[in-house]
């Protein structure tokens, strides 16, 4: 889909052809390639998450610059962009996972349900229960399938009796479509599942603590097409209940699962819009370059 730098060097394309293609493709884009202003529809009515002037620094290095972005209720928003553009960094701001990185410093305000969570006084424990996260590589705990899901409700005190916990485990597995596949082997280690099942187990673990928002950091990058399809299907179902923010490297995936898409470039939020608009008539030249595979 997108070429790496080395491929660009080794595969020889006549220069003039490249220019011609670019010109043809750039007919719709109106914003100049040099501009770093965010274009498109940043604000939404009644947002669930609202980022204001978010900057992230790793030591002295600034990873993302002044991001303003609203995320609405019950939508899937895809964050796309080339490697190192800061999309995962922004994602990790939303549940303060950046706190765990030494030397990471976040400024600006992030409102979730009208509460600024980028505040030392906010306790991350309830925040992370409210904003769940699914990681790039499936990372089930090295415990049984049952224990993987029961851990969250137990530590948060969501269920007190054994039956309550069991009920949560069952409904979480049902919601992720894993129930029929694992109902006979709940005592087996979570690691014994296939990659796709492990990732769905991780999603089940996340929704077991009834979050409002689910963050997904390239959840399908380690999965095969069938596993990917199942997760994407699942995201569509979960949208009814949760707000989902997904970081993905696959533009097809972004196009398939999301309602809105945000394109990042070198730490800047370049363009936000409905997925349809971003992929059919991007406003910014950089967005256009990225989605047409000019660079990546």
């Amino acid at each position: 889909m997108f070429q790496t730098a080395t491929e660009q060097e080794s595969v020889i394309i006549p220069r003039n052809t490249l220019f011609i293609n670019q010109k043809e493709a750039s007919q719709g884009a109106t914003v100049n390639r040099e501009s770093r202003e965010t274009v498109g529809q940043v604000k939404v009515n009644n947002p669930r998450i609202s980022c204001h002037n978010v900057n992230v620094f790793y030591g002295a290095k600034q990873a993302i610059n002044n991001i303003n972005l609203d995320i609405g209720h019950n939508e899937v928003i895809a964050l796309i962009g080339p490697s190192g553009c800061g999309k995962s960094t922004l994602l990790r701001c939303l549940n303060r996972m950046n706190d765990t990185i030494d030397g990471c410093h976040v400024t600006g305000e992030i409102f979730i349900n009208n509460q600024n969570i980028n505040n030392r006084e906010i306790d991350v424990v309830p925040l992370r229960a409210q904003v769940g996260m699914v990681f790039q590589k499936p990372n089930p705990f090295p415990k049984s399938i049952y224990e993987n899901i029961a851990f969250g409700p137990r530590i948060h005190g969501l269920a007190n009796s054994k039956q309550d916990i069991e009920e949560i485990v069952v409904t979480s597995l049902q919601k992720t479509g894993l129930w029929n596949e694992v109902k006979d082997r709940l005592e087996q280690p979570g690691i014994s599942l296939s990659g796709g099942q492990q990732q769905r187990l991780c999603i089940a673990r996340t929704i077991a603590v009834s979050p409002e928002i689910i963050l997904m950091d390239e959840p399908c990058s380690a999965l095969d097409p069938i596993g990917t399809a199942k997760i994407e299907e699942l995201m569509d179902e979960l949208r009814a209940q949760y707000t989902i923010v997904i970081v993905t490297h696959s533009m097809q995936q972004a196009a398939r699962v999301s309602q809105r898409t945000a394109y990042f470039h070198m730490g800047d939020l370049i363009e936000v819009g409905t997925t349809k608009q971003i992929f059919t008539s991007p406003l910014h030249q950089l967005t256009e370059d990225y989605i047409t595979g000019r660079f990546g």
């Binding site: 080794s10 765990t100 992370r128 229960a129 996260m133 990372n139 280690p189 077991a208």
Partner: protein, 440 residues
Amino acid sequence: MNKLNISPRVTGQPVSNKTSDLVKASLAKRHAAERRFKRYGIAAVLLSLTFLLLLFGSIFSKGYTAFQQTYMKLDIYFDANILDPLGQRDIKKLSGADYNALVKATLRIQFPTVKNRSDKRALYGLVSNGANFMLRDMVLTDTSIIDHSKSIWVPASDDVDMLIKGHIDRAVPEENRRLKDNQIQWIDQLIAENALEKRFNSLFFTSGDSRDPELAGIMGALVGSCLTLLITLLLSFPIGVATAIYLEEFAPRNGWTDFIEVNINNLAAVPSIIFGLLGLAVFINFFELPRSAPLIGGLVLALMTLPTIIIASRAALRSVPPSIREAALGIGASKMQTIFFHVLPLAMPGMLTGTIIGMAQALGESAPLLMIGMVAFIVDIPNGFFDPATVLPVQIFLWADSPERAFVERTSAAIMVLLLFLIAMNLIAVLLRKRFERRW
């Protein structure tokens, strides 16, 4: 399009023969290097196995005889005139009676021809001093035995034992021999009467140290080692693991933690005798705790073991994949919950390995214990953490230092007991590790 920049692979030209020849030539060299390296490895393993076998072989061949001891049959008449001339049957007086006289009387009856004073002394020397204690114990448990005769087996003296085991050469001239000609004659007579035989040396496993090799046992040192290591484990494992968790998971990275880290690493390399001096100065001189006690030994060894455990535990914590931490934090576990429910179980096998290495080191350590008085000659088996005690390596050192020939085999036997102790400890560690080990 510059043709010079295009590699053969891109243009689809066949790789030139010259290149493949070069590759082939280097291939032979590479394979040779690989084989050579493998051979070096096998040679190293064989060499170390040879040395190990030599070591074990020499220890075992020297030490196995210590598990047997020569006993002598004596027909003892528990003479009331010697033991209890007043006929009171008073336990206190009976325990102070002259049991040696019974043994002497029996020997005089058995060898009526011995009249000379020095010959008599030589005759009495064939029986171990332990016989007295055996007789006393018999009388004290059952006073009705007085005025009766009983044939009992008592330990022979170490010289008799050595002769029977073939460590004293009869061909050596009499003046260079521990046993004189007449003693050997009596021993032969006893053998002929079936009054001398080798039996399993249960005394070695049940008694404490003694000046008489035939009475010396390993039990005191074994119990001392157990008590000392128990203290060491109870102190160093929790403190070491807690330190590692704090430094690895909670402490901020700054000058102070760097300073502490450097110091811990340095402490791991400090000679153990320094820890002994520290124990002497702090625990005994300053806190005035009893010397020679397993408590102090355990404290000193715990200090010595801590750096090993801390370093190993930190490495174990560091090797837990960050994805597990993220997973737990991601669903809202607090730092403590993340560490105790997820990180610690995964790090436990590594921590246990570090602990067992530290404990094995502590088990084999004698130098620091010399400084705090655990080198003393202690006969009683310790009953608690404050009783004077010694430990296995110190016992080995003491016996190796003793002049009697019979202590040679006991030294080797003690080494065997120490090795068995070590193997048992490692076995427990392996079992524990198996229980905690999980794949991820």
